[in-house]
């Protein structure tokens, strides 16, 4: 039986990334102080909690509408840190979930926080609640909650889609301080337009390391940075290699007529013949590394066929 050739490159790069992360976690274990650049969105978390405490109003937290995955787990991790501080000051929090699995995990985590702080009586059914698993029913429910409870702060962290702006604008309308972050690049501009602080891209995943400063998490961040350097180097050498491989002489010359309109003419035939030697995009080394399963036969979309000698001849030919 034949096996699908997915190539060595993807696996090799992934294993390198994994090695970077694990080796840096190991290296960081013994170290106390590791530098992380300032992330203003995460610095503002304490300010937002303080504001809510002073105003005596709740903090609304939404872990997005996605399934239980790395994104929502990270959101719950951040909410856990918020809940730790909020439980100490008796600030009410509302974690609104659209996914039942995320709700269950968030409920366990936040309850543990309150229990650990000895404030379990402050944890009630409204602290973590399931609103709806339908996108806009959820949006309506959470917006209503933000308006009715006059939330002092809203943290929108997770996987958001079209409902992101409904939350952000509703909270903005009542003057709530807003910290948002999404790994969806399509939603980040909406958050930037409507929220006070936004975690962009991998800042979102750096949050738990930033808030806890645990060596294991900070080490993992350094591993990610090594990975970024590797990717940047690959992009640079990739475009260099591709450019060199596909250097090609011009086949047409741009001229102008009397009215200034463009006039394209073929260059001399000796140069045009060079085009036969040109490499196509799918002949380059870069393409072949990333697409090992595309064979020579597959590249021929419409292979030439031999004429059938027995076929009846059409009239006029």
């Amino acid at each position: 039986m034949q096996y699908l050739d997915t190539g060595w490159f993807g696996i090799f790069i992934t294993l390198m990334m994994v090695t970077f992360v694990l080796s840096n976690i190991y290296r960081a274990k013994g170290k106390k102080e590791l530098f992380i650049r300032r992330i203003s969105g995460l610095n503002a978390l304490d300010d937002a909690i303080g504001r809510a405490t002073e105003m005596g109003r709740p903090i609304v937290m939404v872990p997005g509408i996605g399934d239980l995955n790395a994104i929502s787990v990270q959101a719950v991790n951040i909410f856990k840190q918020v809940a730790k501080t909020a439980s100490q000051f008796g600030t009410p929090i509302r974690v609104c979930c659209a996914n039942a699995a995320v709700y269950t995990v968030a409920q366990e985590v936040i309850r543990d926080v309150y229990q650990g702080a000895g404030m379990i009586e402050r944890f009630d059914s409204q602290t973590v609640q399931f609103v709806s698993d339908r996108q806009f029913a959820f949006a309506a429910g959470v917006s209503g909650m933000i308006l009715r409870d006059q939330a002092a702060a809203s943290f929108l962290l997770g996987e958001f889609y079209a409902e992101s702006l409904i939350f952000a604008e509703t909270a903005n309308a009542i003057g709530a301080i807003q910290i948002a972050g999404s790994t969806k690049t399509a939603q980040t501009p909406f958050f930037i337009a409507a929220c006070d602080y936004v975690l962009i891209g991998d800042e979102y995943y750096a949050a738990s390391a930033y808030l806890t400063r645990e060596p294991v998490l900070v080490g993992s961040l350094i591993g990610q940075d090594w990975g970024k350097i590797l990717i940047a180097a690959m992009v640079f050498f990739g475009f260099l290699l591709n450019s060199i491989e596909r250097v090609q002489p011009a086949t047409q010359h741009r001229g102008e007529d009397d009215k200034g309109n463009a006039n394209w003419t073929p260059v001399d035939s000796a140069t045009v013949k060079e085009k036969d030697k040109l490499k196509k995009a799918n002949d380059t080394f870069t393409f072949q590394v990333f697409n090992p399963f595309i064979t020579e036969a597959m590249k021929k979309v419409d292979p030439p066929r031999k004429p059938d000698p027995d076929a009846p001849k059409e009239e006029g030919k």
Partner: protein, 304 residues
């Protein structure tokens, strides 16, 4: 391995209502209850170990699925030729089973979610909290929707084997009621919520485009270029102007200043690489996060 290679011999592929299948279902159910009971009684340290073991095993399965050679053109009912193919077949067969388990777990968790909803709103009604009438409305809507949906399902499943109820002409009060509630009310309200985004975009854009800093000025300038490039009449006037200028000056470089060219440059040279760079970072973050969760290194977080 060989058993799994033939779909008809798997656990879920057994003859419906056969005594063997029922015995297996009952035994699995009792075993499942026993595991759940043991899990609730286990000390916290042991629970963490169990959670870690399940997480590690699940992660390992998908890593194996990704790394193991995939046999192409596998026909149904074929047996593996060697151990490598045996593992590949086993992994391949196990994917739908694991998806089933995940689906069943999700269904149970949805029950917990509905419990949360009922608890919150029952308390609000009992305490006569602010706007408690909305909670009554929510409870009534929930019960009505489930009621209509369930009766409709029973009628279609058991009383209408020919599928006559799928045609509107044969609908009864239940189908009309469900249609009114779901398509007539709920879907329209959802569409209304979605439409509100247009106004929210306007108000958010107004605030974002106020020139207060260098960043907001850059944002406003690039947004303005893109918006202008999408206005057909303005694009035509601008392009004609540039064409005339090129004709007068004989300088084709000016073609680059057509509004559509500038907008294309902003999108392809500034926007797309920035988004890709962000996505690289997000991807790396997800790998690191997944790795930490899989190996139980995410201490202080969800897995601790």
């Amino acid at each position: 391995m060989e058993l799994l290679a033939q779909a008809r011999l798997t656990f879920f592929g057994m003859t419906p209502n056969s005594p063997e299948l029922w015995v297996k279902i009952i035994v699995t159910f009792i075993l499942g209850l026993g595991v759940m009971f043991a899990f609730t009684k286990a000390p916290i340290r042991a629970r963490r170990m169990i959670v870690f073991s399940f997480t590690f095993a699940s992660g390992l399965f998908y890593i194996l699925l990704w790394l193991w050679p995939v046999a192409v053109a596998r026909e149904p009912g074929t047996l593996p030729n060697n151990a490598v193919e045996g593992v590949a077949f086993w992994l391949d067969d196990a994917v739908p089973r694991i998806a089933d388990v995940a689906q069943i777990l999700t269904a149970f968790l949805l029950g917990l979610g509905i419990m949360s909803l009922l608890t919150v709103h029952t308390q609000r009604i009992r305490r006569k909290a602010q706007d408690w009438k909305y909670s009554v409305l929510l409870m009534v809507s929930l019960v009505t929707m489930v009621g209509f949906g369930y009766v409709d399902w029973i009628q279609k499943k058991f009383q209408d084997p020919q599928g006559k109820l799928l045609e509107m002409a044969n609908w009864g009060p239940v189908q009309y009621g469900q249609d009114l509630l779901f398509d007539g009310a709920y879907q329209q309200m959802e569409a209304a919520m979605f439409s509100m985004i247009a106004f929210f975009i306007l108000s958010a854009a107004y605030r974002a485009f106020r020139v207060r800093s260098v960043e907001s000025t850059v944002l406003m300038a690039s947004a303005l270029i893109l918006m202008l490039s999408l206005m057909g009449a303005l694009d035509f006037i601008w392009t004609t102007g540039i064409n005339n200028l090129v004709a007068q000056t004989h300088n084709p470089f000016l073609d680059n200043f057509k509004i559509s060219e500038v907008a294309g440059w902003v999108k392809s040279t500034l926007q797309t690489p920035s988004i890709r760079a962000i996505e690289f970072g997000v991807g790396l973050g997800a790998v690191a996060m997944g790795l930490r969760i899989w190996l139980g290194l995410e201490r202080g977080g969800v897995s601790a």
